[in-house]
Structures are given as structure tokens and as C-alpha cells.
């Protein structure tokens, strides 16, 4: 941190972040603010950990003392004993994984068509497609349900995966991303002898990778956390995904809050790992999308 102000601009006010005692105060205030903000995020999480280690009877006590009288780590094992938790895990992964893969494929192809190919009415169709984002999901719930029923996908993996394989939001995200890739690259490739398929797979897709990773993260998290659609679309036990499975502790065995907490903590692990592994792409991807002029 330097205190030297450039001699060529003596009149200009100093940037408060550049140095001096005023700047130090500002930094301290910022730091305290961030710590407080951090605490508000951590406290509920810490509370969840404590509840997951308590007995049902101790939960109320916990709100008063802040710590359970006795720890009960068996809650975690119980989750697996009482319900087919492993199966729920598999289902969630299976459904979210396929949905993500298919969504990346469909969205990137649609985005290519909406950004790199000139065809009559293209932008109007795109606007129409975007407009579907304005319709609240609940409104579509019943018609979608009927469609799935008629297609014979009720209570089946396909019913969980296929509707999630398309996304107007994902198409929008990737289209914006692809618009930042200079058109001279497609032109160079087409002169080099490439058709649309090659331009898409060998030029545009590799360059859109940060955007695709962002979309994949969003799509995976969204589908991994999806609750309502799997709830109304499945009835068999072996098709339940994690969020639906967690309900078991609320109905069949009474309200077993510690086990719900333990189960949801375990359910949280994969997305957290995913985030930690890919956060640099996430930040870069969001920035890249934003910087585009």
C-alpha cells in the first residue's frame, strides 16, 4: 500500500482504498461487516450440526442451552437403517446426472442455433422461448403432469429426467456466452472446410467450456435439490430422490428432526464438493457472462 500520490495529478482526490488512516478505518469496518455477515450464514449451519447429534427429546433444550446434554452420532447410522438412504442418494445422482448431461447437450445445441446460425425469425423464436421463463412453474405443474402421465412416464426415471433435459434459462446463458465468441472463427472454420456440426463441436463448444461448466453446475444443483416435481411424479419407494426421501422421517416415524438434519447434512456433501472443485470456473463463468459488452 503506497502513500505516494502521482505528481501529475496533484488535485485529484485520493482513492480511500489506497492508503492513509481513513483507509485503515474503512477496512476495519468492512472486515467487521463481513464477519457479521459470515456469522449469520454459519450459525444456522452449526445449529443444524448440533441438532443432528441430539436426541429428539433434547432438541427443545438445545434452543435454550445451545448445546445438547448428550451427543448421539448414531443418528447418522440410523438414517441408513430406517430408510434406503443409499438408494435415495443413487436416485438423486442418477436423475441429476442425466438431466445435467442432457441439458448441456440440448442447451448448447439450441444456443448455437440461436447465436451462430442465421435463419428467418430466429430472434423472435428465441424471445418466445425466453418468454417461457416468465410463466411460473406451478402453473405448468398440472399440464406437465398430465403430459407425463399420457406419455407413460409416470413413476419412472424418464419422467424425472426428460422434462429436466431442456432449459430456456440454460439456452439463454449459453447463447449469451457464445455471442462473445468472434464470428470470424466460424468463418475461418467454414473456409477451412468445416460444416455446422464440426464448427459446433470443434470450435464453439471448446471455447464455450466455462459457460458450459457454469450451466452444468446450476443444472446439477437445481435437479439435485428438486423436490416438488419428483414428489408428485413418483410413488414407488425405489424411485425416491433425497429431498423426497427426507420426508420419511416426518411422516412414517413421527417428526424426527435430528435424523432429518443428519440426512440433509449428508445430502449436502456432494454439492459442496462439486462447488469446491469447480468454484473457479463458476466465478470465471459468471464474470465472462457479465463482462460481455
Amino acid at each position: 500500500m503506497s502513500n505516494v500520490t502521482p505528481k501529475t495529478k496533484p488535485q485529484e482526490g485520493r482513492d480511500p482504498m489506497e492508503g492513509g488512516s481513513g483507509a485503515t478505518v474503512l477496512r476495519v469496518i468492512t472486515f467487521i461487516g463481513l464477519v457479521l455477515l459470515g456469522v449469520t450464514f454459519v450459525v444456522p449451519f452449526a445449529f443444524q450440526v448440533l441438532v443432528s447429534l441430539s436426541t429428539v427429546a433434547d432438541v427443545d433444550l438445545l434452543t435454550q442451552t445451545g448445546f445438547p446434554p448428550a451427543l448421539r452420532p448414531e443418528n447418522y447410522a440410523d438414517v441408513f437403517r430406517q430408510v434406503p438412504f443409499g438408494k435415495y442418494f443413487f436416485n438423486s445422482f442418477f436423475v441429476a446426472g442425466w438431466a445435467t448431461l442432457l441439458q448441456v447437450i440440448t442447451c448448447s445445441m439450441a444456443a448455437y442455433a440461436f447465436s451462430r446460425i442465421q435463419w428467418p425469425g430466429r430472434d423472435k423464436v428465441f424471445l418466445l422461448y425466453l418468454a417461457t421463463l416468465m410463466v411460473p412453474g406451478v402453473v405448468l405443474m398440472v399440464p406437465n403432469f398430465v403430459i407425463i402421465l399420457r406419455l407413460g412416464m409416470f413413476d419412472d426415471y424418464t419422467g424425472l429426467i426428460i422434462p429436466a433435459a431442456f432449459s430456456a434459462y440454460g439456452t439463454f446463458l449459453l447463447r449469451q456466452f457464445m455471442l462473445t465468441i468472434p464470428s470470424s472463427l466460424d468463418e475461418a472454420a467454414s473456409i477451412d472446410g468445416a460444416g455446422h456440426w464440426r464448427i459446433f463441436t470443434q470450435v464453439i463448444l471448446p471455447l464455450a467450456r466455462p459457460g458450459i461448466i457454469v450451466l452444468a453446475i446450476f443444472a446439477f444443483l437445481f435437479n439435485y435439490n428438486s423436490f416438488f416435481w419428483p414428489l408428485i411424479l413418483t410413488k414407488s419407494e425405489n424411485l425416491r430422490v433425497l429431498p423426497v426421501g427426507l420426508l420419511q422421517f416426518d411422516s412414517t416415524y413421527g417428526s424426527e428432526t435430528p435424523k432429518i438434519m443428519a440426512a440433509s447434512l449428508m445430502a449436502m456433501i456432494p454439492p459442496v464438493i462439486l462447488f469446491l472443485l469447480l468454484q473457479k470456473y463458476l466465478v470465471r463463468g459468471i464474470q465472462l457472462g457479465a463482462v460481455k459488452g
Partner: protein, 377 residues
């Protein structure tokens, strides 16, 4: 290698913007043709139509005797170098150059040989494993050149390839392009807005303008042809490092055709032009002369014609110096004179300059006024 023929080519955008108007040109096999003009004159659009990157609204384009209006770019057997290089950022230099050959399913061994040969020619062999972002602007442009060369196409298309380079690199790369053309003898079409680039590179130059609401061809000729015999005022003004000087006045006949402008200009035209100028006696004209046509003593075919001007500023350029002058009624004129003759030049004085009449022109009024001495054929 191939002949390229454009016949009455028209490009209209959105049914109203006429970007290119009636462009006809016959480019011989192995010729180096430069399209030059200010921005918006349709030079790039024409190039892109030849490449197949733009639809042709009217007319035909033929490459090697085959009309290519509806032929996909990849089937036209052309290679193009873009202003922004258009290198694939995720591929190594080698892959960038080999990409087109791989798509054409050439044997791996041949691809390797061709890429290495081109890399050797351009001096980029040590860079083959690098990614484009690890290269400087000049190196990137060489790779782009290499990518075009390895394809051994019938026609090279260059779209302002040197615009993103700094002045020094521009000159060396320019020389390199010229050398490559001499070596490969491939038909080349080159687009630039830089008249100096056009003059140095082209076997022929196509001067285009945008001034009349449409992009159109003003003149097609050799570099010296367009420089010495511009068909109209626009071409005269556009070419030449220092702009041509223009004076508005009248043609009068008093014992020979003279350009007359008051106060102080009474310049006799060369005898050989008298016949064609006689029709314009009494009409408004624009007298044009290049800064280099002015000198302190009689030179060239001068026949005693001179102008007396007030000098205001001197810019030494090494071998020459540019002397900014004003007429008595405050019109700006630049004279480029030999600095070997003297080391200083009087400023703020009246100086008489002699005109080399072979480098003077008489235009009809207006920005696109025809050259009355060298009318368009």
C-alpha cells in the same frame, strides 16, 4: 491458382442498403489485386462475397471458370486471412494450421510436411506447440498466413490483415506478403483502407468509394496508373501519402487554355490537353496538384507555370520537407520539396513554387468530379 471474374455484382442489405453496386472485375491467374477505399465502401463485403461468407444479391462470381454464387465457402478452394487473425484459441499453432487439412482428410504425413514447410517459410517453426495467446500480434498474423498457405488454395483472400499491427511490423509483414506472393504466385485479393499498402502490394488497385450512398468502384488500374491518372477527384484525393491540393476556379482561353483563380492564379495547361479542355472553357473546375509536383525551381514539364504562396509551417521528413502554405485568400496548400537542396526554409514569406504540369489535374466540381485530363474510359 485461378482466374476470378466478378460480373455486375451487387450486394443489398435488408432490401435497402446498397453496400456494393455493379462490381465487375476480371482478375487474372496469379494476379495480386488490392481493393482500397474508406470504410463503408463495400470492399470487405465484396471480398466476403468472393469467400462465400455473404450472399450475392445480383450478378455472378466465378472462380476458375466456375460460377460459385451458391457454392459453400469450403468448396470454393480459397483461403482467407482475417483482420483479427481468427486463430482457434484452444488449438496449438500446429493444429491451427493443420485443421483445414485434417478436415480434408489428407494423410497425416503430408499434413505434417506441409505445416512444417509453411512454418519454415514464415519462420514460426519454434512456435508450433504454442497456443495463440502465447504469441505476439505479428506472430499470430504469421500463423494466420501459414494457415492459408498450407491449404494451397486457388485464391488467397486478405481482409485488412495488417490493421492490428504496429507501424513497423506492418511494413515488414507487408514485404513478407509480397515475397510470398512472388514465390507462390497464387491469385490474391487483398482488402485495405491504407493507400500505401495498396500502392506497394498490388499489381492492380481497385479504388472504391462510399460517398454516393452506395459502395462502388471508382477506378481499376496499376498503382502508378491510379496515382498518376486518377479518373476523378475522389481517387486523386484518396491516393498519395500527403493529400492532393485542390483549388477551385475557372478555365479561360486567352491564348491557350488557362486555369484562372483570383487572386493570383493563372496557370497554362499543357498544349496536348487544350483540345479536350476547350469544351469546358468558362466553366467552374477544380485544379488539383500533388505536393510533390511543386518545387523551388522549374522541374519536369513545367513550361514556366508557378504559384506564389505564403509559407506558414515547415515539417522536415528527412529526405523531403512538407511546407504548409496559404493562398492570399487563405486556402491551405502543402508543398513537398527536396530537403537536400537546403537545410532551412523561410517561414512567413511569399515563395514561388514551380509546378510539374505532368502531375497536375483538372476536375469537374464536386467530390467525385471527373478528371478532364484523364477521363474515365
Amino acid at each position: 491458382m485461378a482466374r476470378v471474374v466478378l460480373k455486375d455484382v451487387v450486394k443489398v442489405y435488408d432490401r435497402k442498403v446498397r453496400a456494393v453496386e455493379d462490381f465487375s472485375l476480371d482478375i487474372a491467374d496469379g494476379e495480386f489485386v488490392v481493393f482500397v477505399g474508406p470504410s463503408g465502401c463495400g470492399k470487405s463485403t465484396t471480398l466476403r462475397m468472393i469467400a462465400g461468407l455473404e450472399q450475392i444479391t445480383e450478378g455472378t462470381i466465378a472462380i476458375d471458370e466456375r460460377i460459385v454464387n451458391d457454392v459453400h465457402p469450403k468448396d470454393r478452394d480459397i483461403a482467407m486471412v482475417f483482420q483479427n487473425y481468427a486463430l482457434y484459441p484452444h488449438m496449438s499453432v500446429y493444429k491451427n494450421m493443420a485443421f483445414g487439412l485434417m478436415l480434408r482428410k489428407l494423410p497425416r504425413q503430408e499434413i505434417r510436411e506441409r505445416v512444417q514447410e509453411a512454418a519454415r517459410m514464415l519462420g514460426i517453426e519454434p512456435l508450433l506447440e504454442r497456443k495463440p495467446k502465447q504469441l505476439s500480434g505479428g506472430q499470430r498474423q504469421r500463423v494466420a498466413l501459414g494457415r492459408a498457405i498450407v491449404r494451397e488454395p486457388k485464391v488467397f483472400l486478405f481482409d485488412e490483415p495488417l490493421s492490428n499491427l504496429d507501424a513497423k511490423l506492418r511494413v515488414t509483414t507487408r514485404t513478407e506478403i509480397k515475397r510470398l506472393h512472388q514465390r507462390l504466385k497464387t491469385t490474391t485479393i487483398y482488402v485495405t483502407h491504407d493507400q500505401e499498402e495498396a500502392m506497394t502490394l498490388g499489381d492492380r488497385i481497385v479504388v472504391m468509394s462510399a460517398g454516393r450512398g452506395v459502395g462502388r468502384v471508382e477506378q481499376v488500374d496499376t498503382p502508378l496508373g491510379v496515382y498518376r491518372k486518377p479518373v476523378n477527384r475522389f481517387v486523386g484525393a484518396f491516393l498519395g501519402r500527403t493529400p492532393m491540393n485542390f483549388l477551385e476556379g475557372k478555365l479561360v482561353d486567352d491564348g491557350g487554355i488557362h486555369f484562372q483563380r483570383d487572386p493570383g492564379f493563372h496557370i497554362r495547361m499543357l498544349g496536348e490537353y487544350e483540345e479536350q479542355l476547350r469544351r469546358h472553357v468558362g466553366k467552374e473546375v477544380v485544379f488539383g496538384f500533388r505536393p510533390s509536383a511543386m518545387s523551388e525551381g522549374p522541374t519536369g514539364r513545367n513550361e514556366g507555370q508557378s504559384v506564389t504562396l505564403n509559407t506558414v509551417l515547415v515539417e522536415p521528413l528527412g529526405r523531403n520537407m512538407d511546407v504548409s502554405c496559404r493562398t492570399d485568400d487563405d486556402i491551405h496548400i502543402v508543398a513537398r520539396i527536396d530537403s537536400d537542396a537546403r537545410s532551412e526554409f523561410p517561414v512567413g514569406e511569399k515563395v514561388t513554387f514551380y509546378l510539374d504540369m505532368d502531375h497536375t489535374h483538372v476536375f469537374e466540381p464536386g467530390e467525385f468530379g471527373n478528371n478532364l485530363l484523364h477521363p474515365p474510359s
